[in-house]
Amino acid sequence: MIDAGQKTLPMMIVFAVLLVFVVAGLLYKTRDGSEYGISGRYTGRVGGGAAIASNWMSAASFLGIAGLIYLYGYSALAYVIGWTGGYVLLLVLLAGQLRRFGKYTAPDFIGERYESTAARLLSAIISIIISFIYSVAQFKGIGIVFAWLLGTDYSKGVIIGAVLLMGYIVLSGVMGVARSQKLQYFVLIVTFILPLMFLAYRLGYFWVLPQFGYGAAINTLSTEFGINMTAPFANFGLFHWTALCFTLMFGTAGLPHVLSRFYTVSNVRDARWSVVWGLFFISLIYWSAPAYALFGKLLEARSGMFLPPQVAYKMADVVVLRTALMGGLPSWLVGMLAAGAVSAAFFTVAGLLMTGAASISYDIYYRIINQQASETSRMATAKGATLVLAFLVLLAALNPPGQIAEIAAVAFALAGNTIFPAFLLGIWWSGTNRCGVIAGMLTGLAITFSSPLFGGLLPLLNTIFPLPASALCGAPLVILVMIVVSRFTEPPSAEIQRFLAEEVHGE
């Protein structure tokens, strides 16, 4: 795709980094028992923040954002704003109360709060769909990097990457490798920023803070080559920009694997402060990602390459690696970058697949199909489900429907239209009941996919609920449906209302 041939040194670095995680995970596990024995899984505020950030960082952050900025320039900043601003919503509206509620997986919270098996089932299905879509985006990232490492085409790359990923998941499962998230964040940030500093240095820009240094590249692009990357609303208009931004924000505050992060901190106060640290750690990556895109554009322009739009569209997700190569980075440094991308995608997918599988085995199989299921048969279901999910994700990823960040955005839209309203009203209005939440989540599900499914029949849908940006109009509508249906049906039990008032909103 970029340059042919196997890359031995980068490949060795990728494997070495993955191996380091296994070894560190094993050490962490043995230490875990003695050192943290009494205090449980307390990690502190900064540690909690690193956990939030490393849980969040995926191929969409590592490769996807730069890809979209390369394509759309300023317009793609909607992703940066959406994915950081969402944490404000999460902190202000949900973090503290969720910590006090004490249920962290989306089906658990919704099942308990709305006292309904049907709502639990529906939210479990929605979480699985979200995990699925999000994983497809990650698989595309994995496929791109392995295709480059092995010098093959994309489909071979994604299949080999998937086999390695499953091997990694099984191996870590068998050995009981703990996730050391602080180390993971450290590796991600170093493998992302270090090559960027080197690149800025090579290009002769201010390399100490390449986050500001790339401004000169913007200037050169527009004065020397007439390429304006900063024209606002050049690719999407103000409405679409805002809709996309809102959707990603609502989605961030409703993404099941983000919501479940608050159990690692010991109390409400630390939960709140760890969000701030998490946001800071995430912003470090997002302040830097556009630099890769603009350096890439500049290197192309300098070498006289002006790719036609279709070719650029195909290339976009690989722009981070490609820029590093075109900038003449030593191959060990490109290897580090690849290792960072692979580990970001691997850990995200591992987490998502395991959460999805746990949802299938616990929320669906155990709670609904067979309540007498033994521990062993539940474990077997979870393992089987992981494999089946991974296989389905692989099938979908063989022919990826868009850019990494765009695919991920669909998962955010779904979360923003379903889980976010269910959590928001569940915590802030005690009158929301099971009928309301079920009606609302079904509406949200329909809204998310209304544009590709029914847009042909009713073009208006494409305007108000565009595929990845449907939650600006969607989420308020879902909230309205929840309120109206709740008003006209039986209110929730006095017990859960008392729990909300005294435990969740008690001081």
Binding site: Y74, L77, V80, I81, T84, G85, Y87, V88, L89, L91, V92, L93, G96, F206, Q211, F212, G213, Y214, G215, A216, I218, N219, T230, A231, P232, F233, L238, W241, T242, C245, M249, R269, R272, W273, V276, L279, F280, S283, Y286, W287, P290, I427, W428, W429, S430, G431, R487, F488, T489, E490, P491, A494, Q497, R498, L500, A501, E502, V504, H505, E507
Partner: protein, 107 residues
């Protein structure tokens, strides 16, 4: 439909006395800061664009970047961090005040 137990009603827009009332006030102020910065700036950028399509906000550089680009790409994430810190400080202070008030009450 009325809830059977009025004292246990929770409603964001009708907060109870005490902690929750203060909390909601802080929440809504922070959300206002969030909304104005994220969407207000884009609106301003759009509205201030001249007939040629360019806004004066694009015409000067700041920290090496065109101002509007700098504001969106770098200032907004920083702004989010700052308002999150502000939120936490205000909530921490409110919680302390509340627990002191309660202790005094029980003494």
């Amino acid at each position: 439909m009325e809830s059977p137990d009025k004292q246990h009603r929770v409603n964001l827009f009708r907060p109870k006395q005490g902690f929750m009332r203060g909390e909601v006030k802080i929440m809504l102020s922070i959300l206002a800061l969030w909304g104005i910065a994220s969407f207000g700036f884009q609106l301003w950028l759009r509205l201030s664009a001249s007939d040629g399509g360019k806004s004066w906000l694009e015409s000067f550089t700041f920290f090496n970047l065109p101002f509007h680009y700098w504001f969106t790409a770098q200032m907004l994430p920083l702004w989010f961090i700052l308002i999150c810190i502000l939120f936490n400080i205000l909530i921490d202070r409110l919680a302390e005040k509340e627990s002191r008030r309660k202790e005094g009450f029980y003494d």
